[in-house]
Symmetry: C2
Subunit: 143 residues, 2 copies
DNA sequence: GTATATAGTTGTATAATACAAATATATAGT
DNA sequence: ACTATATATTTGTATTATACAACTATATAC
């Protein structure tokens, strides 16, 4: 029997699962700030990638259109986004962030940033830098 | 007004949120193998850290005891774990993995490993190594 | 002009979770 | 020993995020 070499992907697989569990536990109820997981990323996307419709957002996040429809309706109801009818297509519209939505997003981002910065307090700058890079890189292939 | 320096924690915060979203989308329905997110980690924990009771598991994963109670009941019902009554305490018991549970865990781990290894196919070994290390390191502080 | 495709909404079902109530057992104070 | 309180677990119930299916309104193709 040959020795099994411990491949980094084994570690990554397990640590990703653990990270998810922790993150889920940390965000399922006690949401940081006032935006839930989906609202935060939705607002971020609408804010930084320009207005988009329900369908495009659903594709971006790999969620069902109906799910996004409800989530955006909720954001609209809270006054964080508003709809612009698509002049070319009467069925479609796109979403734009409001001032209040932008403020809410910024304050959430700040709270989350502080939380992470606090966790990473004792990390060498180099490791923080590298972790950010590798996470981004991983997300790009994990589409 | 001073320029805002882009701190790595800002990137990490956002990329973590994105990672969660992708991971959730990828595992919510289409579970890899036959074990759902919680079952996979529960079996892993029971298997590698020795038998433990519902309460200890709930603490480990920061989930409500009632949630773990149901999840372990489901694992028991599938024959993946069995209960050993605590000889010192008639209310408590601990969980042990069964042969079939261990087999299920191993095959799931393998499937997940392959999925991750495939994603990382084009990464330099060094980056894979570092990503695993940093994830582990982050999980240790993100308790 | 009719058939089909598409953007979005709404109805309904499921799964994972938390919190509260209940049960059984253990521990502490007297 | 007796009663009160604390603890380990289960079960009842509500909520939330999700998917899938049915529906509505509009657009496109033949």
């Amino acid at each position: 029997m040959s020795e099994k070499i411990d491949h980094p992907a084994e570690t990554i697989e397990l640590e990703l699962a653990i990270l998810m569990r922790r993150f889920l536990a940390a965000t399922t109820n006690k949401k940081i700030g006032t935006l839930d997981r989906s609202a935060y990323l939705l607002l971020h996307q609408i804010s930084s990638n320009g207005s988009s419709g329900v369908k495009a957002l659903a594709e971006e996040f790999q969620l069902d259109i109906s799910t996004i429809s409800r989530q955006t309706a909720s954001l609209e109801q809270k006054g964080y986004v508003y709809r612009i009818p698509d002049p070319q297509d009467g069925r479609a519209y796109s979403l734009q962030i409001t001032e209040s939505g932008a403020a809410e997003l910024a304050s959430n981002k700040q709270a989350r940033y502080e939380r992470v910065a606090e966790l990473l307090r004792d990390w060498p700058a180099e490791d923080q830098q590298k972790f950010g890079e590798l996470l981004s890189k991983f997300n790009r292939i994990f589409a």
